[in-house]
Structure formats: C-alpha cells, structure tokens
C-alpha cells in the first residue's frame, strides 16, 4: 500500500496537517485545494453518518467494530529492505515495546465514511474519539474483477483487509500525534502542525509501509 498523501482534519473541519509522499495527482494541488478537500471530507463524513441505511442502523448492535491488530504495520522491522541491526531496539517515544499497541481496538468511526474507492486512488479515514480525522490517500486501486461469485467474495475480503491495515496504520499516526504534537509545549490546539519531529516520524512510517 503506497501512501500518497496524509491529511489530519481537526474536529471542526480545518486542515491541520497535510503531506504528500509521492509525485502524483495530489502534488499538483495547492494548499488552498487541500483546505477545500479537507472541509469537503469533513462535511461528507457528517452527511454519511446521517444517511446510514436504516437496515444498518437497526442491526447496529450486531456489527463488530473491533479492528484486529495487524502486527508491525509501518514499523522498521516490517521492512526487509532496511538492514537494521535487530538487536538495537527502536525507541518509540513514550511507547514501550517494539510496537505502539498490540491489541485489537474498537473503531470510533461507527457511522461515518470509512473508505472511498475510485479507479485512481483509495481513501481511508480513521476517526478518533475526539473527532480528529486521519485521512490517507493510497494509490492502490482494488481490482474490479467482480465477475464471478468467487471473485466478489475475494474482493470484499481484500477490501476488508486493506481497510484494517489502513486503520492500524492511521492509528499509529495518531500515536505519533499523541507524542510529537500533543507533548510539544509550543503547539497550540486546533492549529496547523509545524513540528519537524512529527514530520520525520510520519515520513519514516510511510516509507516502512510497503
């Protein structure tokens, strides 16, 4: 999964962070376009949470929102290209252990937009409990060979796995946000993030993602 762009949208729909990681359609947009995209995503998200089909709302209780933990998404050790000494433990800021978290977690995004698939890109949204949204634009396009019955089952499975990986990944970005943005005394809430440490950490994580 190649990440092209990561956006962070605060709870009132303002864009507080945006980075491109590859030369693609996204890099042709200017910062104003991204501001518009961010607020559009925010409002579409709000609309979708209102128009959740009735059938889904009724069966809401049966839906499992637990997202399984997928080991080492975006961590150094998951990247075989990096020949790093395995004995040297990577320090993860205030997180202990080799990974940010080890347990499955419950998605807070229960009624809103989770994933948007086009034939150009796929967009994943992870929403935190406080309404912060982490958006990843991935260049991976899920193949549309939904001809046979089997194919469509495989496809839904692939879609599910991709969205789980994306949720795991974006949750780790959230962990980084918790460290390098929230613990920076010079950051003011709801304002654009200018921390170069956060930048570096996000970049490293994106590069580790295959």
């Amino acid at each position: 999964m190649a990440i092209e762009t990561i956006l962070i949208i605060n709870k009132s729909g303002g864009l507080i962070y945006q980075r491109n990681f590859s030369e693609s359609f996204a890099s042709k947009l200017n910062s104003n376009d991204f501001l518009i995209i961010a607020s559009t995503i925010h409002s579409v998200f709000a609309i979708t949470s209102q128009i959740t089909p009735k059938a889904l709302q009724i069966t809401q209780n049966n839906v499992d929102y637990v997202i399984p933990y997928i080991p080492m998404v975006g961590m150094e050790s998951s990247n075989p290209q990096q020949t790093r000494n395995a004995n040297v433990p990577v320090k993860l800021g205030s997180y202990k252990g080799p990974d940010f978290f080890k347990e499955p977690f419950i998605s807070w995004n229960k009624s809103g937009l989770r994933q948007l698939s086009t034939d150009q890109f796929t967009m994943y949204i992870y929403q935190t409990m406080t309404g912060l949204k982490f958006v990843a634009l991935s260049s991976n396009v899920l193949s549309t060979n939904a001809g046979t019955m089997n194919g469509s089952i495989d496809k839904t499975k692939a879609v599910n796995v991709a969205s789980q990986v994306a949720d795991n990944f974006l949750r780790k970005i959230y962990c980084l946000y918790g460290d390098y943005v929230m613990k920076d005394p010079f950051y003011s809430m709801e304002m654009p993030i200018k921390s170069e440490l956060f930048d570096k950490a996000v970049k490293r994580m994106v590069n580790n993602l295959l």
Binding site: K91, D184, P185, E196
Partner: protein, 319 residues
C-alpha cells in the same frame, strides 16, 4: 412486596455494597470502594525509607507535566534569557536536594553480602531481624486494618441507628490515633534497618572530577536510568567540562532546536543546583550538537568559577 418499600432513614441495606451514591444517613458516599473499611493511607512520603527501590514514572505523564510548566513559564516570560533563567532555577531546587539524597543513598552498602567479615556475626543477626521485621510490619498494619475496619463498621452501624455525625467523628479520631501508632512503628523499624546497613557515610566529593563523575553516573542513572553518554573536559579552557546526552528524554518531543535547547535548561538547573550546593560555583548552559544519527544530541556545558579552580589547586596541588 413489603420488602420493596423504602424507608428513607433505614434503607441502606441495599446501598451497603455500593461504592457510589447517596446514603441518607451519612450523606454522599465517597466513590472509592470501601473507603471506611480500608486502612487510612499511611503517609507515604514520611514513613518511606530513604533507600527506596527504583520508582518508574510514566514518560507520558512526566512530559505532560513538563509541557504545562514550560507553557506557563513561556506565557509569563518576556525574553528567552528570562525564560531560561527561571526554568533553570526550577531545576536548581531539585538539584540541591538530590545532592543530599544521592549521597546518602550511595553510602548505603548495596547488600549485606558485601559486608566485611568483621561485621559478619552482627550482620547475620541483623539480617535475620531484618527479614523478620517486614513481616512484623505487615502484621502490624494488618492488625490495625482489621481493628479499623471492625471499629468503623461498628461505628457505622451505630451511626445508622443514631443518625449521628458525631459518631463519624469518633471513627476518624480513632483512625488517626491508630495511624499514628502504626506510623511510629513503621518509622522506628525503617530507621533501625537503614542505620544497620550504613557502615560509613559517603563523603561529599571535593574534587571537580569526582563530583562530575558522580553526576555522570549516579545522578544521571537516578534521573534517566542510564549514565550520561559522555563526560568531556574542554581542551581550550581549563574550567569547562561537558556532559553529553545523545537523546534527552524529557525534551524529545519538542520541535524546533532553539525551543528544545531552551527547555533543556531545566536539566542545566539540576546540574547547577547540585554543584552549587556541593560548593562548586558554576554556570551551566545547554547547547545542541547533532552527531551522526542523534539529531537531538545535547551538550551541557559547565563553566566553573575561577575560585573553584584556585581552591582545587591549593588543596590538592599540582604535584
């Protein structure tokens, strides 16, 4: 059916095991479970041994606290130098206390096994009494616990019938006396066991190099759980020494190297307070010197006053 009727004054049977809620006779119940039956917190700070085991503090909690400190200071300070001086003065008060504490701790011999043979006979007896003492302590506490719980529940039942607040006062007073006695016990034991472990008090370091080694080793491992990454003497100036930390843990999340260095003045203050209290007047500043993979490598530059150097020359000579 009759059991369902609630008598407002006596109905706390159903509330008995609840941890929260309003009890009609007593008033709002505390939210902690078994607040009354639990033993009062023996005041940790004063009864605790000076030779405690390593306490680990959550880095996240610590950085949040530090962050609040920084932003409060940042608001009230007009200039960077004012900010740095104030932050440094915060650290100084910690450093001057740490001098005493760490000197005391390092004079305690690490274990009874390292004792010299002349003390062996006495130490074994001490050892046996030591091993029995903690058990005694816990027994004591347990006893007071059970006493307390018995007394308080008894009082509570009375209070229910009496609807009296005075009986509640009673419970508290009995508790405090109990606590006092248990504290005294506790304290007594602790003092005894510690003094038996100290064969010789550690002397305050008198040489510059010795005390810097102490900072590099003992102080750093007390603060950060590892020794500092380097201790260097300046080749240009005689009175300058450098303590180097490759990844300062406290300021690792602060972006912008200038901002981060200003925040490192807290550690500078700790070093300064430590040295000044030990009789080495100095100035400590923080500098950034990235090297290799360590982008946030920080150098704490210590500049001693000339009088310190003169004193050292007179006392220890150049021979």
């Amino acid at each position: 059916m009759s059991q369902d009727i609630i008598y407002t004054s006596t109905s706390d049977e159903s509330f008995k095991n609840r941890s929260t809620g309003y009890e009609y006779t007593v008033g709002p119940k505390p939210s902690l479970p078994d607040e009354y039956t639990r033993s009062p917190l023996t005041s940790k700070l004063y009864s605790e041994s000076l030779n405690t085991k390593r306490h680990e503090v959550s880095l996240a909690a610590m950085t949040f606290l530090f962050q609040e400190m920084i932003s409060a200071l940042h608001k009230e300070c007009k200039s960077v130098t004012e900010f740095e001086t104030k932050l440094s003065s915060y650290g100084e008060s910690i450093g001057s206390r740490l001098l005493e504490l760490l000197n005391f701790r390092s004079s305690i011999s690490p274990g009874s096994s390292s004792r010299t043979s002349t003390f062996l006979a006495s130490s074994t007896s001490v050892l046996s009494s030591q091993t029995s003492q903690p058990a005694n302590n816990t027994n004591n506490i347990n006893n007071t616990n059970s006493n307390n719980s018995g007394g308080s529940t008894g009082n509570r039942t009375r209070s229910r019938s009496n609807t009296g607040t005075s009986s509640k006062d009673n419970t508290s007073s009995t508790k405090t006396t109990n606590r006092d006695s248990s504290d005294r016990h506790h304290h007594h034991h602790q003092v005894e066991s510690l003094t038996s472990q100290i064969s010789k008090m550690r002397r305050r370091d008198l040489k510059i190099l010795d005390i810097l080694q102490f900072i590099h080793g003992t102080l750093w491992s007390y603060l950060f759980n590892h020794v500092s990454d380097d201790l260097v003497k300046s080749s240009e100036r005689n009175n300058e020494y450098m303590i180097i930390d490759n990844q300062p843990p406290l300021t690792q999340f602060i972006s912008g190297s200038n901002n981060r260095i200003s925040c490192d003045y807290f550690i500078c203050g700790i070093i300064k307070g430590f040295l000044t209290n030990a009789g080495f007047r100095c100035k400590v500043t923080a500098h950034e010197m990235p090297q290799g993979q360590f982008d946030s490598r920080t150098v704490y530059l210590i500049q001693f006053d000339n009088q310190v150097l003169e004193r050292e020359a007179i006392r220890f000579g150049q021979s």
